[in-house]
Symmetry: C2
Amino acid sequence: MRLVIATCSVDYSGRLTAHLPMAPRLLMVKADGSVLIHADGGSYKPLNWMSPPCKLTEDVDTGVWSVTNKAGEELRITIDQVHSDTAYELGIDPGLIKDGVEAHLQELLAEHVHTFGDGWTLVRREYPTAIGPVDLLCRDADGRHVAVEIKRRGEIDGVEQLTRYVELLNRDPLLAPVRGIFAAQLIKPQAKVLATDRGLECLTVDYDALRGMESDVLRLF
Amino acid sequence: MRLVIATCSVDYSGRLTAHLPMAPRLLMVKADGSVLIHADGGSYKPLNWMSPPCKLTEDVDTGVWSVTNKAGEELRITIDQVHSDTAYELGIDPGLIKDGVEAHLQELLAEHVHTFGDGWTLVRREYPTAIGPVDLLCRDADGRHVAVEIKRRGEIDGVEQLTRYVELLNRDPLLAPVRGIFAAQLIKPQAKVLATDRGLECLTVDYDALRGMESDVLRLF
DNA sequence: GACTCGATGTCGAGT
DNA sequence: ACTCGACGTCGAGTC
């Protein structure tokens, strides 16, 4: 990884046209050839960049860097002054290990389906339908089928999704009548209103408690 | 901006839980307090990060950095070895100037609506409907209303959107019958097929030429 | 402040 | 290679 602190201006032409006026910035050149231009603020997103695979050519005389890719996009960096130019060998990163995502929530709820209520059983995870798989298909104590849609954060689009599933499943005489449960770590007020309006039930899931396999992890609204 | 090359491991807990094993990486601390952890590859997105506003506290004895924000999220960086630690004053960046985005396309087409055809007039930009604003509402030479949906890149979801608008507008006896035009710099084949199937027209817009105010900027399919 | 929508989105999985 | 969907989406504009 090469780190250059330089006063530069930048022009990007590709999917759009963009320009950065002359100012001091950090230029990061990664081992895969990608280039990132960062300012001292903003967010994790660079001011501008070129994603790999791409090629950097440097004109030492004019101080112009040209980064191009196969699609014909170009990032042109005009350097007025170099304040620092260093390079480091970092090696390949072992990579990020994620946890607490929707898949894990689904796994936990599938394992502890009885926590939805006494006498509940799991029919199957990822129950297939014509418009996509339902996260969980269960049966309640009365033997009624229940479609469960699981999200980390419950928003309107998730309710729409569940609505479509329940509607579809209810057309199947072997399944109907089908209840719908919208389960999420956090359910936004709007989503809750819409779900209730659609005759669906909402469930707030306590992820940490569920991991601890407590029986009172779920609060039904 | 402070740049630290260090062998470190990272733990994030917040909206999800994530872990990075011990490895050499770049730690970028920006003036607004945000912290980015970059590897020597991947993309412009850091391996992990904390967005501003946040606070960095550094325990010199244990070599542990803790970055926290108001929402209770924490980024914990355990440093095994520091290879380099430098800081630079970059100042506030003048910021990116974008061009060629959808808003600009809409502006240009609204200005040069006569280029759709002789005798065309603009009713209004962002014509409001119950399901959202139509980009342009025009009238053709025959006085028929035309709904125009503008995208940089024309894909299927844009066609769906236009379909809904045209359907809705056609319910209004004061407007019906309404034509629909799908205008984009690049229209994907699938989108073109779907649009044609729906009775909509497709239009490829030459952005550079339109900026040059040529009269033959549009090619109607 | 909350909500909506676009993005050079990015990223990953499936086909 | 392409499509589809989720994202710690981010960020800008609006209400």
